[in-house]
Symmetry: C2
DNA sequence: ATAAATTATGACTGACAAGTCCAGTCGATG
DNA sequence: CATCGACTGGACTTGTCAGTCATAATTTAT
């Protein structure tokens, strides 16, 4: 009995490890090729499995892809929660969130393009709800901080979620535009970008 | 001489009309299916031509698609130029630009998703320069207005192009998010959205 | 050692779509 | 009316790829 359970656990771990291998390979291929042009053959080769084996771990190309997309968004939610949880003035919290998100975008540049593209791909099709839910989760982390400030009359009275989405969008755009214009991601100053955007968000472009 | 030239002109016009038919059909199909899933067969059927005929007018699926993308961006450049050319306080100019762009996004919702997706699709591949150039054109229209304000010390001293891109991005994000959350584009108040974003951009979220 | 069970393999299939090609059509011309 | 040739349609070629399945390899149980 005992002899059979321990191996079972190891089995499970090994299976998970292989699964992770496949996911990692798939990330790379999707990142460079995009969903449609990525092939399971290439993913399998990179993961050092045969194509058929992939189907022992995932139902379909679509499933595999969605799992990746959702895990990326989960990481981004985590970044937001982490940055805000460390406290300090709200401006600093926001700036910290901005820095880390910009860094995350920088290190996962290709993948994020895929993500954006595929969010739009899915658009007319089924659910999307799993994705929308996660994006909202990011915004609502920021929104709750804004709401507190609003109660203290430090922020204009407006829908905090709306404002949060604008801020998230500003960061997102900055990262995206950067990766279009700058060819290599050489020496991007995330700190500077973050403080610029944070200041703009809170103080506006007009001179006071 | 005269007799031969007039028919030639009509011929040319008819050819252009047919070309436009194809473009129009292609827009619809690309809009609902996306680049990869759109087929020339479907485009041809909708345009009421045979597939082979498409190749009398366009070299490839790619060419056809790019022409559409570029024409959309050209329309958006035109909107920006128009809105700014009508004068008035810079804030009003920006708000006007915002309203009209949001309206444009609303009426061309599907197509714009495709556009975004395909800008990201092209990313790792060839040129993109035609697209980048056009996006910059939009921003620089706004930037020159900002630069004038900057000289009058009415705007924070910063790269006007950078600021312009932020504003353009805010509008863009707003439109995109709207089309994800609101299912039908029922009763979207572009005016309200535009004034909200314009105010936020110039005055910031913090209470003065 | 051997049988049983699990997991991996990769050749294969079926579906689909881009691009080609050419026989047939039809309006214009003289 | 006869000739011409630009335009048309859709069958055809070619290539691709997601997903399957019979078989092989490996691991576990007896």
């Amino acid at each position: 009995m005992r002899q059979t359970q321990i191996p079972l656990q190891r089995k499970k771990r090994e299976r998970q490890a292989k699964r992770a291998e496949i996911l990692s390979a798939a990330r790379k291929v999707f990142a460079t090729k995009g969903y449609e042009r990525a092939t399971l053959d290439e993913i399998a080769e990179l993961a050092e499995f045969a194509k058929g084996t992939l189907y022992n771990y995932f139902d379909s190309k679509e499933t595999l892809f969605r799992e990746i997309v959702e895990s990326i968004l989960d990481e981004m939610i985590h970044i937001a929660e982490q940055a805000l949880a460390e406290g300090g003035p709200v401006r600093d919290q926001f700036c910290r969130y901005a820095v880390r998100t910009l860094e995350y975008y920088r290190t996962n540049e290709d993948l994020l393009h895929i993500l954006v593209r595929e969010i739009h791909r899915t658009h007319m099709k089924e659910d999307l709800s799993a994705i929308i839910k996660r994006v909202h989760a990011i915004a609502s982390v920021l929104a709750s901080a804004l709401r507190r400030e609003m109660n203290k009359r430090l922020i204009i009275k407006d829908d905090p979620a709306e404002l949060a989405h604008v801020f998230v969008g500003m960061i997102h755009n900055r990262a995206m535009r950067r990766s279009f214009t700058l060819p290599g991601l050489t020496a991007v100053d995330c700190e500077a970008e973050a403080t610029f955007l944070t200041r703009l968000f809170f103080d506006g472009a007009a001179r006071s």
